[in-house]
Amino acid sequence: MSASSEERTTIVAWSGDLDRVWPQLILATTAAAYGMTTTVFFTFWGLFTLKRPEVKVTGSDWKTKGLGVMNRQGLTKLNMAGLGPLLMKKVAAEHKVAPPSELIETAQELGVRLWPCSMTMDLMGLTPADLIDGVGEPVGAATALAEMQRSAINLFI
């Protein structure tokens, strides 16, 4: 926790599309392999990566519905939430890249901090129990920004 800014990387994972989830997780694990204190802040559609696959977004207000609709539109872009784990593995194998689930596991092995955005969780009606194991406590934008201020490398993907 006492790493200098040169040794910190923070990634804001804003999209749940596979073509962004890959760089989010590839760069996060690489930063961790460099020994940097690495944090990924999962916000908006990016949060779908941390959701347990069996959990459906069931919020009933207009905001949640809006997110759900936009998520469906993401299907054509190989959206994480739209692809089953098996299909995801197939696509990953075709690209010779590790599937997101494996990259998340690797990130956790390397101590990458996976921070869910608390506001997005409220928006989607998700609780910490709806998220995969090993993620951090939900945090707000201020916590994420404080970490970005301490980081030499900040990426918005």
């Binding site: 590839i26 760069l27 961790a32 392999a33 010779k96 590790a98 690797t106």
Partner: protein, 76 residues
Amino acid sequence: MTQPARTLDASGLACPMPIVRTRQAIEDLASGDILEVISTDRGSLTDIPSWADTLGHTLVDARQEGERFVYLIKKG
């Protein structure tokens, strides 16, 4: 002394896995130990030297054997 203390076969793994596994493999070694890394990822040609240099390890040797790239990294 360039006898590897350990060999990591990262063949078939794509970026970022060769670097990630190298990082994990070198953790258990003592300073001065040699880690041999085998990769089929072309990106490793620049990634391994850059990674080793940044973290104070020494790339003792890098060679190509057919489809495989073989690196000897001395832990710093």
